[in-house]
């Protein structure tokens, strides 16, 4: 049996956290929720998630800045980051921050699950390739 994939969800809106959690759990993912994405930087290597869903404007926290730090950090740079936001510039922000993708709010549950699956799959393949080339 594979371990369930761990997904980190950061949003300052509790309802949206609940909804995304319900959607992801219904598909067997393990979900870690946070209203403050800063927590990610306190994670031990073995506790790091396999994918991050994150809002852009969060109370006191700028998702763009967090994404930039994640992508610069060796430990976290390979974790796919998807922005989930109602920001109308979401596509451009995703590109600027070198995030891996975005989901515009309000979102379709189907689309969210599909994107999560796609990015987990792509990141797993990249890891396998890395391992083969290292061996």
């Amino acid at each position: 049996m594979h371990e369930p994939k761990k997904i980190f969800v950061a949003d300052d809106d509790q309802d949206i956290l609940n909804i995304i959690e319900m959607m992801l759990r219904s598909r067997g993912y393990e979900v870690v929720m946070s209203s403050n994405a800063e927590e990610l930087f306190a994670c031990k290597a073995e506790d790091l998630p396999e994918l991050i869903l994150m809002d852009i404007w969060m109370a006191g926290v700028d998702g763009r800045e967090i994404c930039g730090r994640l992508k610069k950090n060796k430990l976290t740079s390979a974790i796919p980051v998807l922005f989930v936001s109602a920001n109308s510039q979401i596509a451009a922000i995703t590109e600027d921050c070198r995030a891996d993708g975005f989901i515009a709010k309000p979102f379709e549950m189907k689309l969210l699950l599909q994107k999560v699956q796609e990015h987990l799959h792509a990141s797993m393949q990249a890891q396998t390739c890395d391992q083969i080339s290292q061996d």
Partner: protein, 412 residues
């Protein structure tokens, strides 16, 4: 031979005279080249004839004389050597009383300190710049930018000062700030409106999923209708934002390669929920890749299909036909609705336009959908149009070039 000797000496003298004249001429030409000569005075039959030079130098002088900026040259003693009319007007002193004056004396007392600092800085660093405020028309204030440059003239040094009236720039900046404020408001308003909609839509989808799992298809179907209405609300919020952005010339598009057919089927599924059994799809574009903004083109398709549903009888069919021929992809949406009078067919792509007729009040909408659609298609180098006959129906269509990603920059 004596005669010959004399003429030899005569010739030598003549040659010497000519050489001196040639040297003089060369010197004059050199002076003209260096811009040191403004005019020649030629004595002719006891009268002086003045010949001024129509050189590039004169063109520059005229240019400086006529320009809107104030131009002043001051000597190292602070006295104005030259000023143009614009500067005289700016300080409200007749031009003939500006030249020869102490420059600082022309500047309002309150500004003398910063201006003298600028002058000192320009002498020290060769150039300086700053901004001052001088009394303007009708008791107002005139913001003026000063650019000071050290110049070498006639073997000495002087300061060239350009004074620009900044009031127009300030006004433009003010307008831009105002526009940005409005734009920021719309952006925040849109974000704040979409946030609760996201929660409502999210809970509904979770409920719908749960009902489906439990086999309660009726409840799931009803929630599907709620969800479709929420999508309409979202579309209205986006329309307001987009229309505002188009007005400001900054509708952001995000270009990427995508499969058109997959997009069409997504939209048909979504719009079809509010138009059950009415959409007939004929799609032969399978595998056709477009380079464009997938979301925005989806918005155009949604808009055209929604319109077809809105303006046609409840159970009538709507034909959605997509085909690709010779690098052009075309989508046609044909309804059997009220149609559009010929004289209004071009106007429907204008902002806030809604078809005028007896029943106009029964159709909801902001009149922004087609305006935005036309802009989106236009920005993709495409065409959008309508063929319609009143009482029989309309066919809305758009055509898009099937292009390779390399041919179009992402900022297009």
């Amino acid at each position: 031979m004596i005669k010959g000797d004399k003429s030899y000496n005569d010739l030598l003298t003549r040659i010497n005279e000519l050489e001196t004249k040639l040297d003089e001429s060369n010197e004059i030409i050199e002076s003209i080249r260096r811009g040191e000569v403004d005019a020649f005075i030629v004595q002719n039959n006891g009268t002086n004839e003045i010949y001024t030079l129509r050189s590039a130098d004169k063109a520059f002088r005229l240019f400086i004389e006529k320009m809107n900026q104030g131009a002043v040259t001051i000597g190292d003693n602070g006295i104005v050597l030259y000023a143009n009319t614009s500067f005289a007007k700016m300080v409200d002193v007749p031009l003939e009383r500006v030249i020869g004056q102490v420059f600082l004396g022309l500047i309002p007392e309150a500004q003398r300190q910063p201006v003298s600092q600028l002058i000192a800085a320009a002498w020290r660093d060769k150039e300086s710049r700053g901004e001052i405020t001088i009394p303007g028309k009708e008791g107002g204030e005139l913001p003026v930018a000063l650019y000071l440059n050290q110049l070498e003239i006639d073997g000495g040094v002087a300061l060239g000062i350009i004074a620009s009236d900044m009031s127009l720039q300030k006004e433009a900046q003010e307008q831009k700030r105002e526009m940005e404020k409005k734009d920021e408001f719309i952006t925040i308003a849109s974000h704040e409106l979409k946030t609760p909609v996201t929660s409502i839509k999210g809970y509904i989808q979770v409920l719908q999923f749960n009902f489906q799992q439990q086999g309660n298809t009726h409840a799931a179907e009803l929630l599907g209708k709620v969800d479709a209405q929420i999508n309409k609300l979202t579309a209205l919020i986006s329309e307001l934002l987009d229309a505002r952005r188009i007005e400001n010339g900054q509708l952001p598009l995000h270009f990427d390669r995508f499969d058109f057919s997959a997009l069409l089927h997504e939209i048909v599924e979504e719009t079809g929920r509010l138009l059950p059994q009415r959409l007939v799809v004929e799609d032969t574009t399978e595998g056709v890749q477009l380079f464009g903004d997938r979301n925005k083109l989806g918005q155009v398709i949604t808009n055209i299909i929604d319109n077809a549903g809105k303006y046609s009888p409840p159970s009538s069919k709507i034909i959605v036909q997509a085909k690709a021929e010779q690098n052009i992809l075309a989508l046609y949406v044909k309804d059997q609705g009220i149609g559009i009078p010929r004289d209004q067919q071009q106007k429907i792509f204008e902002r806030f336009f809604r078809v005028k007729g007896k029943k106009e009040n029964t159709y909801a909408g902001l009149g922004l959908g087609l305006y935005i659609s036309a802009e989106i298609i236009f920005r993709h180098q495409g065409r959008i149009g309508v063929e319609s006959e009143e009482g029989k129906g309309s066919t809305f269509y758009f055509q898009l070039p099937v292009i390779r990603g390399e041919n179009l920059s992402a900022s297009a």
